[in-house]
Amino acid sequence: MNNILNEIGIENYIFLSVLLFCIGVFGVLYRRNAIIVFMSIEIMLNAVNLLFVAFSTYHQDAEGQVFVFFSMAVAAAEVAVGLAILVSVFRNLGSIDIDNLKNLKG
């Protein structure tokens, strides 16, 4: 495992994670469908999880992998709440396009 990391180099893992993270960020900023925005947030979190595991191997330290468990559990809890909110929005509006959420402004 360590050899693979040496051959590929930790930088490439960082580049890959940053790329995935940016895909997630742009998804959140540009997509208007709430489910796709949720998926983009998941991509952001999973990009970080990937980097945690890579760093964990790089440092020969298991703490990073344990942290991934925490962040996965938290992400699951977050999405459960998010989907519940989404369902109540859909029941009231009949759509999940976040451009329809325009009642509050001023």
Binding site: V28, D61, V74, V89, N92
Partner: protein
């Protein structure tokens, strides 16, 4: 540590009480439990300790701020009984969520390890998403919950990425180890990037400009009780956490970083105050007022090593005034579908005590003497001048003057306009919470050294 366990236990108790049909006892028992936990927390003040391999660090900072959070939660829980009386079957859920939120808040100021920090911030945020969207048939509440959820989890993702880069640079999650390594030479460039990302995420949570755009919408759309929680408890928690993150992980801030804080602080104060001037909705106005107060609180970061006492004083003054004003706002707007200033017309004649408390709390937020808000601003300003940032203080003074404009708009509406409604009997708990909170605020104003010396 005992605080955190006791709070979680109380939250679980609130959920179980529903099964045994103890609904009537729920609010008194929760308040008594929180008072007992407050005593337990204060007793730990002089015995700093660490638990579970440095996961939780109990020191003066964490005990002082935890006690403040518990006091605020006692007020919020006391108000819940009347606020949710139309939904008696959901009372235990709301109380349990509020108490779990408090557990997250306590974890956020007493962490010694970044994983505890992350779990704390997520427990707090997820509870708030639920509370913001809790009025499920109301489209405004749905919208507020959705917006808060999307931006909150976006910010959480950024914080998580920051934690990851810090871990990559140092190999530790323990903040004491990170602090040791941070001053050494040869630390990879990921480290400052990680710190920056974490701070951007925290600025989202405290709603400082330019990361404030979600706050007015979310504050306006959420149920008023949730708005009260967000603008008092959560703002204070996020600010204390930002302070702890910075003072815990870095030995000294670079000049560039301090300049960034200066800009954000001035921007928050100005944007918040200018936008608040043209609001008619009271919750929206207080949201912008909260943004400008976030700007004031950020000044504490400019004198990082010495400002803990001042920050505690400022946050306590702001949050107590906020609780007092929201107790009145919740009462006045409880049967209305909006929170416009019109609803407050003539409050001075129909309910003189409530109007007096609201006036006092707004004056405290504006920074008028004898209320704690004045001394809080005064000490923050003098500390910032000593740190050498006169320009922020000038901006702060100008903004305090601007802020009087919109606070007085509400005060004038209460005393000069004619009331549209008849006088009604007010439940005792509103008087109790409003008067106690404002008395605590005045007490702090009369004896500032009581609070300020706790952490110095």
């Amino acid at each position: 540590m005992n605080t955190l366990i006791a709070i979680s236990g109380l939250g679980v108790f609130c959920l179980i009480a529903e099964i045994f049909n103890l609904r009537k006892l729920l609010v008194p028992v929760a308040v008594l439990g929180l008072v007992a936990i407050l005593g337990l927390t204060v007793s730990e003040f002089h015995t700093p300790n660490t638990f579970y391999n440095n996961m939780i660090v109990v020191d003066k900072f964490s005990v002082a701020f935890s006690s403040l959070f518990i006091v605020l939660t006692i007020f919020l829980v006391a108000l819940s009984g009347d606020f949710y009386k139309d939904h008696p079957s959901k009372l235990s859920d709301f109380l349990a969520i509020k108490i779990f939120l408090l557990a997250g808040a306590v974890a956020m100021v007493s962490f010694g390890n970044l994983s505890m920090f992350f779990l704390g911030i997520e427990v707090l945020s997820i509870s708030l998403y639920v509370l913001a969207a809790s009025r499920r048939l109301d489209i405004k509440s749905n919208e507020a919950g959705m917006k808060y959820f999307l931006l909150g989890s976006f910010a959480s993702g950024i914080i998580l990425f920051g934690i990851c880069l810090i871990y990559g640079a140092t190999g530790y999650f323990d903040i004491a180890e990170i602090k040791d390594l941070s001053s050494g030479a040869g630390i990879p460039v990921w480290f400052p990037i990680g710190i920056t990302l974490m701070i951007i995420g925290m600025l989202f949570k405290i709603a400082a400009a330019p990361f404030h755009f979600w706050a007015p919408d979310v504050y306006e759309g959420s149920p008023t009780m949730t708005t009260a929680t967000m603008s008092t408890l959560v703002k204070v928690v996020a600010m204390a956490t930002l302070y702890k993150v910075l003072s815990g992980m870095t030995t000294s801030l670079t000049l560039t970083f301090e300049m960034v804080i200066v800009v954000i602080s001035i921007l928050s104060m100005t944007v918040g105050n200018i936008m608040a001037l043209r609001q008619n909705n009271v919750k929206r106005m207080l949201a912008f007022s909260g943004i400008s107060h976030a700007g004031f609180m950020l000044m504490a970061i400019l004198s990082l090593s010495t400002a803990a006492g001042t920050l505690l004083y400022y946050t306590a003054a702001y949050a107590l005034a906020g609780i007092a004003s929201f107790a009145v706002i919740i009462y006045v707007t409880r049967n209305k579908d909006n929170e416009d200033t019109l609803n407050f017309n003539g409050l001075g004649k129909t309910h003189p005590l409530l109007a007096a408390v609201l006036t006092a709390s707004l004056l405290s937020m504006a920074g008028i003497p004898i209320f704690a808000g004045f001394f809080a601003k005064f000490m923050l300003f003098s500390q910032t001048i000593q740190a050498g940032y006169l320009v922020v203080v000038i901006a702060g003074v100008v903004n305090s003057i601007i802020s009087i404009g919109y606070y007085f708009k509400l005060i004038l509406a209460m005393y000069t306009k004619e009331a549209a409604e008849e006088k009604q009997a007010v439940p005792f708990v509103y008087y109790f919470v409003a008067v106690t909170a404002i008395l605590l605020n005045i007490l702090m104003g009369l004896y500032p050294s009581l609070v300020i010396n706790l952490l110095n």
